[in-house]
Amino acid sequence: MASKRKITLNRRDVVARIVKDRGDTLVVTGLGSATWDAAAAGDHPNNFYLWGGMGAAAVTGLGLARAQPDRRVIVLTGDGEMLMGIGALAAIAVAAPVNLAVCVIDNQHYGETGMQEAHTSHGVDLAGMAAAAGFANTATVWTKKDVKGALPLLYETKGPVFVDIKVTTDPVPMILPMRDGTAIRARFRESVLGDRAYD
């Protein structure tokens, strides 16, 4: 449980590597650092950035995955954001969307509020919780090699998939995406739905 294994992965390197293979994947990002990470990796109309609604990311991904069953949906979020909506693990596992992967960029801290320790600093095992809820496939990732190994899980393996990636708290530059929620929603829907976005 409470592993003292050394953490070396940089969050920006991890997210950049993940989205490099995105193709037409739809990405929902949880408020805070995960949203900044996705922006740093390159803005994309198929990114839906949450700037609020802490705890919303995973279930937003669920609603999207059910509405777009032929598209892969990846949720990128932080460990604190996931913990606030932890019941989502049960809701997602029971709904069992085959096209949804939830990926937690887990630095074991609340990064936006001053780096206070999160429960993940004290042994809470998010991938274990997802597995116990009934996720089809789960993994915890510690190394660069494991990140590469997790890519098929995120993009191909039958979902719901849950991947927890342990990253350092090393400071990274602040890079912010667009923040007008109405504009983010409209751009995303137009990218996914075309003209039907404005019906």
Partner: protein, 180 residues
Amino acid sequence: MATTRKKKTAAPTWPAEVFKTLKDADIAQVSYVPDAGHTALINTCLADNRIKTTRLTTEEEGVALSLGAWLGGERSALLMQSSGVGNCINMLSIIEETRSPLLMLVTMRGEWGEFNPWQIPMGQGTRKSLEDAGVIVYHVDHADDVAETIYAASQIAFNSYRAVAVLIGQRIIGFKDWRK
């Protein structure tokens, strides 16, 4: 000793009318936290293989789920009891900030002949809480008005991209029989 009185009624027809209304309004996803007042509607949705149902652990999940469904081009409805409204408040901000539709169907407790005093605070605060969070609120007190009000609410939600709640009065649900 507390006494209760069971209101004698035939099986209500409004849940079936509401189900038809949801179909007429092109609702593709229904999410819910169970309530006794929603039992018939939930069961009908579960039995219909064209409506995607999602069992929630807390009502705020349904707010985020509705946003996700809308991002993917689907209309949804969120079913809950009035006590669940309190769980949704911060999450409602993502609906307002993204100007996305949300249709909430709320069965009321704590307002008409309530037996359980613990239901009163949230039941009495339901409308105010929703309105403070930017939600348009309709309240229905007669079974004959439920389906039509929900249809009207769905038009406001999906045609004007707003959060709308229909509060289904406890008078319609009837008294809970505490002797069972």
